[in-house]
Symmetry: C2
Subunit: 203 residues, 2 copies
């Protein structure tokens, strides 16, 4: 990285910031210059917060969610329906579903998705742990909530087939028109999924 | 901030990341989850880099650039023309000009720009320090390189008037069509500036 006129400690900070997701060279530079010019407390608060978060969180040994205590709050919350497990790819997906406010079951985080190009196969995902839970806990339904890209679809299909052997109800979250969007903004695949997934309408 | 299901150390990290420029709630969340899931070295490297950069850099007492040593490398570089001073708003602007590779004079960083709405007047900028340099060093030309927004223009005009008294040559960087862009993408103001600033063309 050629950075004329920048002191080496700032260049090292820019390199470290660049590793964060979604941070390009220009935004790393803006962040670094902001950090060294903002009050010293801000910088040390951020440095402490990074260390703390890294040292004090782990993945729940039961469901794979990020947590401070093991097992996590989802797995120990008696008010959440243990007979319902929503399977997602990443810990961040748990947050998205929680924000929707419309799910009161448990979670299972696979820790990735099947991606032959990246050398990730089913054996790299937490599928055995899921199967253990299905037999140990009295699970009635597994909801597959993978992404709709190629890898997400592949993971969803693989898991759907594998879980069919259990005889449990396996469902998949709906694909269709995003709420608030007109038809003219939806791509053909989304519209065809929306048509396939149509349900009876009683106004 | 309502963050159902997130461990408190991660919520604190998200809050600290949110203070960085250009980081919204979603990108702070992505960064935080990435940091706690990436190798521990990455997180501690970033935390160290933040502390180091904050503790080991300061503003040059002469020109206001970010530097590890005071005075900075720009002010002590004998190969840079001391009779030419380019005045900019922020330390980051120095980098932009250095990257252009077409300036070999010295710099002066004002540390902001005149902005009545934010309560920033000329007395909050490093203008006396600039004037001292003009009399102390044998400066021949001052180049004003402020931004082209309202506050940048105001700062440029104020400074231009104030420096006129010194009798030195005061110039301003050109405004016009960005290189590589067609006329159809330029707004009217830019085009009118480009016309005003036209120069003789000898092919």
């Amino acid at each position: 990285m050629h950075m004329p006129g920048l002191p080496p400690p700032i260049i090292r900070l820019i390199s470290a910031l660049r590793r964060l997701p979604g941070v390009g060279p220009r935004s790393a530079e803006r962040m670094a210059l902001d950090l060294v010019q903002s009050p010293a407390e801000n910088a040390s608060e951020l440095a402490d917060a990074i260390r703390e978060a890294r040292n004090r969180t782990l993945l729940c040994s039961n469901c794979g969610s990020l947590t401070e205590a093991d097992p996590c709050a989802f797995c120990t919350d008696e008010r959440r329906d243990p007979s319902l497990i929503c399977v997602v790819e990443q810990p961040v997906d748990v947050l998205s579903i929680e924000r929707s406010g419309s799910y009161r079951g448990r979670f299972h985080v696979l820790g990735g998705r099947i991606s032959p190009l990246d050398g990730i196969g089913p054996e790299d995902l937490k599928i055995p742990q899921l199967e253990q839970r299905l037999t140990r806990d009295s699970v009635k339904e597994v909801i597959l909530a993978m992404g709709t890209d190629v890898e997400g679809e592949a993971t969803c299909h693989y898991l759907g087939k594998r879980l069919a052997r259990t005889g449990l109800k396996v469902s998949r979250i709906a694909h269709g028109l995003p709420v608030g969007a007109g038809l003219e903004f939806a791509d053909e695949l989304t519209l065809s999924r929306a048509l396939e997934g149509r349900s009876e309408f009683t106004p």
